[in-house]
């Protein structure tokens, strides 16, 4: 169905929004790994997206292929998230939240001030679109919106599937076990640091890939667009509106949050106030998001998990 959408909505603007939805699905699904399944609210997630975007921008503007930029974005987010993880994974709750925010802000100010590398607030411009070699067709440049749409949807689909596989694997079950009862999970021999690091690094790398897409789509990378605190608010909104700790939730959230501003356009400057009100009402009355309407609260799904886990460990 996703493949034929461009045929139905052939106008450029709708396609533009659909591309943004795909990219936002990547951001929300990856944030959901650490914040939904593990349950540590990361305010540094946008920084990894920005790191991916800046890495590929610098690589492809030096004349290398954007695909090398993708490899670079993955490598940089992997290394940085692992190193930062060494510090932050030991922390929980409020400490985790504030230190991840500090990380985000440190990168934001670096991107704004390291003019020699990043051009500061002006950002890096004219980032090229990636090319693609298709057997039988030859090499094409993904310049049209339709071609970029397919690229984004394919990558988003692969990442959502990867998240699903992770979550359904023993690793993902362990995340939930740690979230639901840390003491018990430690007692049955689960190494929190190891598993939370997994989640943190996976989430960061996926965000980096999303950042790569965004950089080559918008073709501009700047601190305001790629590193700011507003971005993380948007990502959190998606996860919370959709339903954290579920696979479908962040996808729904990404759709809602991408299209919402279009519907709120008539409200002018009140838009962000309305955002805040929606977030506030949701966390009070629908803390598990849209998914809760179907009775799929994240913790309800996982009831009896420990029974299963204990049996598995024994066997």
């Amino acid at each position: 169905m996703l493949a034929i959408l461009p045929l139905i909505f052939s106008n450029e603007y709708t396609l533009h929004l659909l591309i943004l939805v795909a990219i936002n699905v990547i951001f929300a699904s990856s944030l959901n790994l650490i914040s939904g399944y593990v349950g540590e609210l990361s305010l540094g997630h946008a920084a990894f997206a920005g790191l991916g975007a800046y890495t590929t921008a610098l690589i492809s503007l030096s004349g290398f292929s954007p695909w090398l930029g993708l490899a670079g974005a993955v490598a940089v987010t992997l290394v940085v998230s692992y190193l930062f993880g060494l510090i932050v994974i030991r922390l929980r709750g409020a400490y985790f939240v504030i230190s991840s925010l500090a990380f985000q802000m440190a990168l934001f100010y670096t991107a704004s001030n390291w003019i020699g590398l990043t051009h500061g607030p002006m950002g890096l411009l004219n980032i090229p679109r990636p090319g693609l070699w298709i057997p039988g067709v030859g090499s094409i440049q993904l310049n049209s919106k339709v071609s970029f749409y397919y690229l984004s949807v394919i990558i988003a689909f692969v990442i959502v599937m990867a998240c699903k596989r992770l979550v359904r694997s023993p690793i993902g079950e362990t995340w939930v076990a740690i979230r639901e009862n840390e003491k018990l999970s430690a007692a049955v021999g689960l190494d929190r640091t190891k598993y939370v690091t997994f989640a943190f690094v996976f989430a960061a790398v996926f965000a980096g890939i999303g950042g790569w897409l965004l950089a080559h789509y918008i073709q501009v990378v700047s601190p305001g667009d790629n590193m700011s605190f507003d971005l993380i608010i948007g990502m959190i909104l998606m996860v919370v509106i959709g339903g954290r700790g579920t696979i479908v939730g962040p996808i729904l959230g990404a759709v809602v949050v991408t299209f919402l501003p279009e519907y709120l356009r008539g409200m002018g400057n009140w838009r962000l106030t309305v955002y805040g009100v929606i977030l506030g009402v949701l966390v009070i009355f629908l803390p598990h998001g849209i998914m809760q309407l179907w009775g799929i609260g994240s913790s309800r799904l996982q009831q009896g998990l420990f029974a299963g886990l204990a049996v598995k460990r024994k066997g």
Partner: protein, 292 residues
């Protein structure tokens, strides 16, 4: 040497404002385990209320300062009631999520509403107090900057003494230590919550008003102040009152001295790098005990 002294003085002034912000943030965390992302908005709303009290109602600056901080204190109680009403029976993880997201929502609503209603332009609060430079030895100061330091230090000293010696302060500290035990010996933790929020909000608003009189006010001034206050409480140790005072001073002076050596823009990054360093080497904070 002369430069250094001047930078230390400037750091003291900025640090005074950090203290006013951080004390509230840290006691709110200590008592209620809330990371208050709307704290910067108390600071911003206070500054705007005082600005309008002075410029429209023509009140004296000090009257406006007191009135605005009382109003923002009452507003803080309202927020506390909201959080308490919906969050009191939540499990720990849900509560952390709930309080962080709700305070982020409140801060979005407040900052953007002020932005629409008052407009994005910057204002300065008129005080009638001289800001003319005065030379004291090698250091250039001004009457108002000295006043800022005096206000911040006397308020934190009064609050510190109140915490240490008054019956109510002791009840507050007991609630920091162990909420259930405090409730079981007859301490009304609801009242403690409300007073904590009121004092925290009022002190933040005084910080905002002083900044608004020294520099300027604008609708999004709160977010940066919040971030700085987070840096301070991490430096000092989350939940530690002394830590907030020491951390506020330390951050103000470090930033000020560093700005003499680094490009101006990097000054803003210092606090966040410090947070990360402190978390690596001394997660309980400079003055704190572990209250995780």
């Amino acid at each position: 040497m002369q430069d250094l002294l001047q930078q230390v003085f400037n750091g003291l002034v900025v640090g005074s404002v950090y203290i006013l912000m951080a004390v509230g943030l840290t006691i709110i965390f200590g008592v209620m385990k809330i990371v208050n992302f709307a704290h910067g908005e108390f600071y911003m709303v206070g500054a705007y209320v005082a600005f309008y009290l002075v410029s429209l109602a023509g009140l004296n600056f000090f009257v406006a300062l007191i009135l605005a901080s009382v109003l923002v204190g009452l507003f803080g109680i309202l927020i506390e009631r909201l959080i308490n009403r919906f969050g009191k029976d939540m499990a720990e993880l849900e509560y952390t999520y709930f309080t962080i997201l709700l305070t982020i929502a409140i801060s979005l609503v407040l900052a953007n509403t002020v932005n629409v209603l008052a407009g994005p332009s910057q204002h300065q609060i008129a005080t009638g107090i001289s800001t003319a430079p005065i030379q004291i030895g090698p250091v250039v100061v001004s009457e108002f900057k000295l006043l800022v330091i005096v206000i911040a230090f006397s308020l934190s000293m009064i609050f510190g003494l109140f915490l240490k010696y008054s019956k109510f302060g002791k009840a507050m500290r007991a609630t920091f230590e162990n909420r259930e035990a405090a409730a079981s010996v007859g301490i009304n933790t609801n009242i403690i919550n409300m007073v904590t929020f009121a004092i925290g909000a009022a002190m933040a608003s005084i910080g905002g008003i002083l900044v608004g009189a020294m520099f300027n006010i604008f609708p999004f001034m709160g977010s940066q102040a919040s971030l700085k206050a987070f840096a301070v409480v991490i430096l000092g140790g989350l939940g530690s009152f002394i830590g907030a005072v020491v951390g506020g001073l330390a951050l103000g002076i470090i930033e000020s001295i560093a700005s003499g050596y680094f490009a101006v823009g990097y000054k803003e990054a210092i606090s966040f790098v410090l947070i990360i360093l402190v978390l690596v080497f001394r997660p309980e904070g400079l003055a704190g005990r572990i209250s995780r």
